[in-house]
Amino acid sequence: MPHPASGGAQFLQHTRKIIRFTRKGCTNRPFYHIVVMESFRDQQDPVIEQVGTYDPLPNQHNEKLVSLNLERIRHWVGNGADVSTPVAQLLGLCGFFPIHPRSYMTAWRNRRAQAPSENNSSS
């Protein structure tokens, strides 16, 4: 019996692997699996292994839940797997990777977008 995290895809040694999101959930309710798959495959193709989940909708405590199998991520990154930008941002936020530059950009843009509205309301 395969391991529960195994996605059933064929593992080929010399293809490029990527750690990326695949969208699960349904219409208007996104939910992502963080998976290892060959980088040229389609998003909904069978994956090599699932290494985490990401729920982008905040729960009642205003939390976005991310689960990461850090041991397996370490393994795949060590074996030369690429990491997609959204996943790299999450790994940066959790302190596993350095903070991704795009995270700083997003934060800065969000702050800038918020600033003029505050000025308008005060004036």
Binding site: N62, K64, S67, L68, L93, G95, A107, W108
Partner: protein
């Protein structure tokens, strides 16, 4: 371990300051100050010592019928099985049953309350405004026990910190659910309902469920169990827990907090002098500094008398109970002798 416990105590005593630093953790501190007062010393080393375990086990008074009775827990009941057995087979079955009894009557551990986790890993103000929600990251690496799992939170202001206990509880329960444990606290443990359940005398139900729902070092576990034990003590319903796993814990709690007078009174009034002696022995083990701990009397009545005169806070009531017990004994003896005489023995 001792060092760790010392640190625990320091942190708990200065919790007000920490509360100001982290305004959103107020919920966790609700009961901390109260229950820390109940466990200033660490009960764990005493609780796990073989002497205390032996006395607690002895006090529980096994009634196999009560241990294995069918309980209405919403499960399907099995029809009883009848078998023909030789006496050796029967003996073997009895031995197996004894083992099962030991398992079922393990007293739930009494340990010191945990302290809140307030560890900031990094503060990156450049990330302020990245998202309006917190990010909670859980490491789901295979084979890591719940208490060692890495769980961290990135706050909207860019702070990366370790998760608080309530967050850890939720994440562990979401990704690695324990059977019968609920993600939200059952309403039963909230105040108007808890008193209601206790007034109906469902002590074992409450304590069993608290064992399932909470970790033994959870402040909420302390609150629920101590409320239950206090209620039992107030209502004198000590027999409700007899031959359940909670009886030892009840005795331990009452001895630890030096409120066994009602318990002793109950035993004396019910002619259970041996049990009263065991209870006072447990009291002495847990409070070696008490005045009557020195008494080494073999006579049960003198032993109890020493406790009453030196450590009891309800001396008069206990004295009267003991006297009436003695008189009752005398009368019984008198009647027995009379009967013997009447029978010409």
């Amino acid at each position: 371990m001792a060092l760790n416990m010392a640190r625990v105590w320091c942190r708990c005593s200065s919790y007000c300051i920490k509360k100001n630093n982290f305004p959103n953790v107020g919920v966790n501190f609700l009961h901390l100050s109260r229950s820390v007062a109940g466990y200033e010393r660490d009960p764990a080393p005493l609780f796990f010592s073989p002497d205390v375990q032996r006395i607690m086990r002895k006090m529980t008074k096994v009634d196999v019928k009560k241990v294995f009775r069918s309980r209405k827990l919403g499960e399907k009941l099995d029809a009883p099985e009848y078998k023909f057995l030789t006496s050796e087979e029967l003996e073997q079955y009895m031995k197996e049953t004894e083992k099962k009894v030991e398992e079922r009557l393990q007293v739930p551990p009494i340990v010191k309350e945990r302290e809140e986790i307030n560890e900031v890993l990094s503060v990156d103000r450049a990330l302020t405004g990245y998202d309006s929600a917190k990010f909670v990251f859980t490491d789901i690496t295979f084979g890591v026990p719940n208490k060692d799992r890495i769980i961290v939170v990135r706050e909207p202001d860019g702070t990366l910190r370790k998760a608080f206990w309530n967050e850890r509880f939720r994440m562990n329960q979401i990704y690695f659910p324990e059977p019968d444990r609920q993600l939200r606290t059952p309403h039963m443990f909230e105040e108007p309902y808890l008193t209601n359940v206790l007034d109906r005398g469902e002590y074992e139900f409450v304590l069993d469920r608290a064992c399932v729902q909470y970790e033994p070092n959870d402040p909420e576990y302390y609150r629920v169990t101590s409320t239950t034990y206090d209620h039992i003590e107030k209502e004198q319903m000590f027999d409700a827990l007899q031959s359940t796993r909670h009886f030892g814990a009840l005795a331990f709690y009452l001895c630890w907090n030096k409120q066994i007078d009602n318990f002793v009174l109950y035993y004396i009034q019910n002619d259970r002098i041996e049990d009263a002696v065991m209870l006072i022995q447990l009291f002495h083990l847990l409070n070696p500094e008490s005045k009557s701990a020195e008494t080494d009397s073999k006579d049960a009545l003198k032993f109890i008398q020493a406790y009453i005169s030196k450590d009891s806070s309800r001396k008069s009531v206990l004295e009267i109970a003991l006297q009436s017990f003695l008189e009752l004994q005398k009368q019984r003896q008198f009647v027995e002798e009379g009967i013997k005489k009447a029978h010409g023995m």
